[in-house]
């Protein structure tokens, strides 16, 4: 009799413990920060990624704080321990992987190449600029320097095609402020520059939205495809939490919703994402080779 009574008491105690740990209310749970690289503007980053961050908090039982971070400051602030998880472009991932052993979690899918993307070099239709050789002596506008598909991929494509951007073109500029990629496209469209470097994804989205047409531009060259935006995790985190984070991302479907500010929002649609995929770090090797050839971080030599 005593044996059975003790066993029931033990089961009740275990049940109570599991209920108490499972139902930790928000505010008493573990706190962590996710640094999100600003793509176009801080305002846009906040709007896009609040629902996803909220979803991850609910799914993992951790209070995640969303931190919008400027691209240029990202690796430094991560190294300083300001946030534990990262969402950046693939080049910034590469830099932090080399410098701080950032772990690869999942790669974002968006547009026709899925978890990959590419960079295009464009000129206005009718300009007569159709090949890489035609770029010599022209005025050019690049995207932001740490943009893999807005700068690095095209810079490398030019080098591979025998054009040195530092010597062979008249001059190049990088637009200031936010929405740099669209500024590049419109800069070429309105004739401020002869040639520009646009992420192929932006051209695809702008054409799909009717902002530009396929007949507006010559695609002078398109780079090979390279991994798109990437989630990473600090090397010091609990492996179970890291794995759960990765699983939560790759298992997200377009139907998943989150309650956010009194509304039921679709998580992926709110963040303009098609999904997440697990890539291998070796899938980033082509990007590494590009960065080495272009003498860019994390392999820059002076």
């Amino acid at each position: 009799m005593n044996f059975f009574q003790n066993r029931y008491a033990l089961i009740i105690i275990l049940l109570l413990i599991s209920l108490l740990t499972a139902c930790q209310p928000e505010g008493t749970r573990q706190k962590m920060r996710i640094g999100y690289m600003n793509c176009n503007s801080e305002e846009e980053t906040l709007k896009r990624f609040y629902p996803l961050t909220s979803y991850l908090s609910q799914k993992l039982g951790v209070d995640f704080e969303l931190m919008p971070v400027d691209t240029q400051d990202f690796s430094e602030r991560f190294a300083a321990g300001e946030f534990e998880f990262t969402h950046t472009n693939s080049l910034v991932y590469l830099i932090m992987h080399e410098e701080s052993q950032l772990q690869l979690l999942a790669t974002e899918k968006r547009g026709r190449y899925g978890s990959y993307t590419s960079g295009s070099i464009i000129s206005r239709k009718g300009s007569g600029i159709k090949t890489l050789a035609d770029l010599k002596g022209k005025r050019m506008v690049f995207g932001p320097q740490l943009a893999p598909s807005g700068f690095l991929a095209q810079y490398d494509t030019m080098l591979q095609g025998g054009i040195d951007p530092e010597k062979d073109i008249a001059y190049y500029a990088i637009p200031a402020g936010s929405f740099k990629h669209e500024k590049v496209v419109y800069g070429v469209y309105f004739g401020q520059y002869d040639v520009g470097t646009a992420p192929s994804l932006d051209l695809e989205l702008m054409t799909g939205a009717g902002k530009i047409t396929a007949d507006d531009f010559n695609i002078v060259a398109e780079s090979p495809i390279i991994p798109y935006c990437t989630f990473g995790a600090s090397k010091d985190l609990d492996p179970t939490l890291v794995e759960n984070f990765r699983k939560a991302l790759v298992e997200l479907t377009e139907k998943d919703v989150v309650s956010y500010q009194g509304e039921e929002l679709k998580v992926l649609a709110s963040a303009w994402i098609d999904g997440y995929e697990t890539l291998e770090d070796s899938d980033y090797d082509l990007l590494r080779a590009m960065a080495k050839r272009a003498n860019m971080p994390p392999y820059q030599e002076f």
């Binding site: 026709r112 190449y113 899925g114 695809e204 054409t207 799909g208 995929e277």
Partner: protein, 179 residues
């Protein structure tokens, strides 16, 4: 009740023959009408099909021209533009699949092939003017063993599972399987 005379029998018989003749003529006429209508319907379908193929060729000709000129990136943009007016058109999906395959985006190419074949089975039909059967067969023969091995190695990957499912679907459609 008066007895029927010979004239009554003749009149009744003549009337019966007339009724039977009318019934026979009505039946034969209806049969002819039905087969004529069926013939019209088949011809209408054939004409509509030919017109559709002609229309698709004309619509997507600029994409084909750009591909022939080696301008795959511009061809993809042209497809984006056409998709604004003709979303979910199977022919656009097929062209997208072929260009993405050339660009090395294998998984995405398979997704588009699957979408195209789901929308229109003509692409795996040997006899169809739209057929892409040999290309799809080559893709399945080459990539199915590769993705099966990759999925075995990494069974957690939902993306690999999805691609493998797509390849199995194409394989089934090539062998004449139903959905």
């Amino acid at each position: 009740m008066a007895r029927r005379d010979r004239f009554d029998i003749l009149t009744g018989g003549g009337l019966l023959v007339c009724v039977l003749a009318v019934v026979f003529l009505l039946m034969v006429g209806q049969e002819k009408n039905t087969s004529a209508a069926a013939l019209d319907k088949a011809m209408e379908q054939q004409i509509a099909y030919q017109a559709r193929i002609e229309f698709l060729h004309n619509l997507y000709q600029p994409v084909e021209d750009l591909r022939l000129a080696g301008q795959a990136s511009e061809a993809l943009l042209k497809l984006d533009e056409l998709a604004r007016h003709y979303p979910q058109e199977a022919h656009g999906e097929i062209l997208q699949a072929e260009i993405l395959l050339e660009r090395g985006a294998i998984k995405e190419s398979i997704d588009h092939y699957v979408r195209a074949v789901r929308l229109n089975g003509d692409y795996v039909d040997k006899a169809s003017p739209l057929t892409r059967r040999s290309g799809i067969q080559q893709l399945v023969d080459l990539r199915l063993p590769e993705f099966a091995a990759r999925t075995r190695k990494n069974p957690q990957s939902l993306a690999l599972q999805n691609t493998l499912t797509g390849l199995y679907y194409l394989q089934s459609r090539l062998s004449g399987g139903c959905e």
